[in-house]
Amino acid sequence: MIATVSTLAVAITLIVAIPKMPRWDRVKKSFFNGEVLGETFPKLLDAFVLDIKIFLWSVPIILFIAMLVAVTRNSRSPALFPLRILAVVYVDVMRGVPVLLWIYLIGFGVPGLGLERPWNSPLLWGTVALVLTYATYVSEVFRAGIESVHESQRAAARSLGLSNAQTMRHVVLPQAVRRVIPPLMNDMVSLQKDVALVSLIGPIEILRQAGIDKSKFASFTPYVGAAIIFLAITIPMTRTTDWLLERERRRTSGTRVS
């Protein structure tokens, strides 16, 4: 009841206040032009297919590299010390520089080496830059998850005779991954948006298409169209995760504290 009233109050204020702004008419014409939207929207959707493709290629590779790095950093064998160092350096370096900079550096740098087609495509190397950067973010999420599994779980698994690797695979990782699904989805939503950064080195995906249409129609409406398309993907993504988590929680846990 209180929630409804306060929501209503905020909504009414916004609806009344915004059109009172001095330049609302101009903003409305430039950003919310129905005609321009209708004309550019299909092209934006077409361009968005490339975003989706880049995203879908990247995710499995990112998860794989991230898991490998996280498990390596968490290994305890003295023999793996050099690998642990390597993993730390990789994460520190990739994570310490903005994604955009890596896209420029790798996306322009590697094709500059004079590789043959198709290995000289900025699209390919821009995506590689995205994957390598995001893998470090996600590896840190996995690592936090692994470390959150209580030591006693390992003790129980080892006492049953499971090897280190088996303990990791059957006991630690399943719990770790479940726990980090919310932050993981957060990174995936970020990735879905950052895919658009690859456009800055050439490929025509949605953000670049919107830029082209903006100039053509002298209107910012294509950007709003692009924003709508992004939201149409990212919001259901987040809601689905919440729903999956809730279902899992209900399946495995006891009575809920209200």
Partner: protein, 239 residues
């Protein structure tokens, strides 16, 4: 075990401790908190590397650094004070994990065996439940079943009744009594003096990382010679 030393930093928890355990013997470790009971059990299972001394098991010194702990752990079951069930697995999955993954048993055979054990422990209807849906007592009984399915020669029980309600302690007692008939060697750390007195062949009183007195339950509980043991028992009994 001979002259076993275990320290955590400057804190020496086991201080040249000697202990012989015969096959089929049921040994209780009693003593105040921090006396080294749990650490001793963890060292036997090689969960903690020891700093000095030797642990012999079946004619082999298993405490040598670099000795593969997994074959040893397969022959030693352990049950923890806090159950340590795997929360993401059902009761059945918890129980079948080690037999299938470690011993390479067929899943179906293991399931049948697990069901029989669950029945014996009054848990037949809980096979599909998850640990968080069970009471503490039920969880601990599942943990015991889980330790038994690797068919260990030695069972280590680390204060397993500390978290159980009184009604269930009796049930666990019965279970351990049954184990005695199977010739299982059991080492248990406990604060339940009546439990220790009833179940053990030998009782060891630990204090300051050494066994200060060892003997039959009768001699320890009615006729302790060490003043520290008498003091400890009178405090415990006056509760």
């Amino acid at each position: 075990m001979q002259k076993v030393v275990k320290s955590f930093g400057a804190n020496t928890v086991l201080n040249a401790l000697d202990l012989d355990i015969a096959k089929g013997e049921i040994v209780s470790l009693i003593g105040p908190s921090g006396s080294g009971k749990s650490t001793l059990l963890r060292c036997i299972n090689l969960l903690e590397p020891i700093d000095d001394g030797e642990i012999w098991f079946g004619g082999i010194d298993i405490s040598v650094p670099g000795y593969d702990p997994n074959p040893v752990r397969r022959r030693i079951g352990m049950v923890f004070q806090s159950y340590n069930l795997f929360p993401h697995m059902s009761v059945m999955e918890n129980i079948c994990l080690a037999p299938v993954r470690v011993l390479g048993r067929k899943a179906n055979d293991t399931k049948a065996q697990a069901l029989a054990l669950l029945e014996q422990f009054g848990l037949a209807d809980k096979a599909k439940s998850y640990p968080d849906q069970l009471s503490g007592g039920q969880q601990q009984r599942v943990a015991i079943v889980r330790a038994l399915t690797i068919e260990p020669e030695v069972l280590l029980l680390d204060e397993i009744t500390s978290a159980l309600d009184p009604e269930l302690v009796g049930e666990v007692l019965d279970a351990v009594r049954n184990l005695r008939n199977t010739g299982m060697t059991v080492v248990l750390a406990t604060h339940e003096m009546s439990f220790a007195r009833e179940i053990s062949d030998t009782v060891c009183m630990l204090d300051g990382g050494v066994i200060i007195e060892k003997g039959s339950p009768e001699s320890i509980f009615t006729n302790a010679t060490n003043p520290r043991t008498r003091q400890f028992l009178s405090r415990v009994n006056s509760r």
